[in-house]
């Protein structure tokens, strides 16, 4: 007789026939599709990735998105200043120096992009889903295009960096939730070949200490 049955045996005379059956049944059924340990972290990663993929526009209510909108607004102001200066008085005025707000926004944009690309490279190399980065990449892509249309693009080196970032962010933004490993590998190769992370760190006017504080 299997040990399982022996463990489940009810001693004689321990209640009515029905009660004994019910008690025996409850004990015997404990092994019915018995769950193992909860794969907590694995499921959490899948949940966050799926939510990011399914709800790109709901992020509008979240602080990170509002912060991104703030940057975009400041950059748009920078664009307006640039255009105004381009069509301004004929008498050649001195080039307007970008405002502190504009420089802050640009520095924060570079910091966020660096964080995204660093995270993307590390997570995808560890086999994590790439789709979770698509929403943030889409948001930063819009900011990149504003940057390209702003006074920042007058700097040839920065313009070249922004154009490369535009390409790689567009690739990440278009990745589906279950992206092919090959697609992800191509993006990572592009990051390496163009030395994007190194150029991003060099381009930031603030230096590592200020970047760590998340501002200038």
């Amino acid at each position: 007789m299997p040990s399982y049955v022996t463990r489940s045996r009810i001693s004689p005379g321990s209640g009515s026939h029905d009660d004994r059956f019910e008690q025996w049944l409850r004990e015997a059924a404990r092994d019915y599709h018995r769950p193992g340990d909860t794969p907590r972290e694995e499921m959490w990663r899948a949940i966050t990735a799926r939510r990011a993929a399914r709800r790109p526009w709901v992020l509008a209510t979240q602080p990170a998105f509002r912060w991104g909108v703030g940057i975009a607004a400041v950059l748009a102001l920078g664009v307006a200043i640039g255009r105004w200066s381009a069509h301004g008085p004929v008498v050649s005025p001195p080039e307007p120096k970008p405002s502190l707000a504009y420089r802050l926004a640009a520095a924060q944009y570079l910091t966020r992009t660096e964080a995204l690309l660093t995270g993307f490279r590390a997570e995808t190399r560890a086999g994590e889903p790439a789709g979770q980065f698509a929403t943030q990449a889409r948001e930063l892509l819009a900011t990149t295009r504003l940057m390209l249309d702003s006074p920042a693009a007058k700097d040839v080196r920065l313009k070249s960096l922004l154009e490369d970032l535009e390409l790689v962010l567009a690739q990440i933004a278009q990745l589906p939730a279950g992206a092919d490993r090959e697609d992800v590998q191509l993006i990572n190769q592009g990051l390496e070949q163009r030395s994007l992370l190194l150029r991003l760190r060099t381009a930031s006017p603030s230096g590592p200490a200020a970047r760590a504080q998340g501002a200038l």
Binding site: I10, R20, W24, A28, M43, R51
Partner: protein
């Protein structure tokens, strides 16, 4: 942090609160999904579906029931709808009365009681099986089952009683195990 505060923070988009809510409930949701699905991969998928839906719909949670009850209602809905779509579940949908291979087998032909019991529970009609698993296996009360499945407490009790009766018939040749 109490439940109400946790929910408010999740609604405000607090990522740490989302994780806290998940941590507080994931074990029981996963256990229930495993018991009902009988398959680890399906249970993971159903658990993920449950939390994705829960986070999406938390704005409509009015707090009339406990959060756990609300989550278990989503879990049972996700699992039962999911199982209906899975081919593997077809054989479990066969009514126990039609499952001659299970009910009519002599003990000598199928000596493993554990396997016989598993097959017999699998063969229960969906409503009976769900109530049986929730009550006798996972320890939910009839009130909790009623709230999760959207049925009356009395219906839950009746379905449990019928489930037990069917299992008793199916395992009749093992009667010595509880009669002796």
């Amino acid at each position: 942090m109490d439940e109400r505060e946790l929910i408010a923070r999740v609604r405000a988009g607090d990522g740490a609160a989302e994780r806290a809510l998940y941590d507080a409930h994931v074990d029981r949701v996963y256990r229930l999904a495993c018991r009902l699905a009988g398959d680890d991969d399906l249970a993971r998928e159903f658990t993920q579906d449950t939390f994705v839906r829960a986070f999406e719909r938390l704005g409509s949670f009015r707090g009339e029931a406990k959060l756990s009850t609300w989550l278990h209602a989503i879990t049972t809905s996700v699992v039962l709808n999911g199982l209906r779509k899975v081919k593997r579940f077809r054989r479990r949908e066969v009514d126990l009365d039609d499952a001659a291979g299970v009910t009519g087998t002599r003990r000598s032909a199928e000596p493993d009681l554990k396997r016989r019991l598993t097959l017999a529970i699998d063969a229960l009609p969906e409503g009976y099986r769900t109530v049986f698993v929730m009550h006798d296996v996972e320890g939910f009360t009839h009130e909790e089952i009623g709230a999760s499945l959207g049925i009356e407490t009395g219906t839950s009790k009746a379905q449990l009683s019928r489930a037990r009766a069917k299992l008793r018939d199916a395992l009749a040749d093992f009667a010595g195990e509880w009669v002796s």
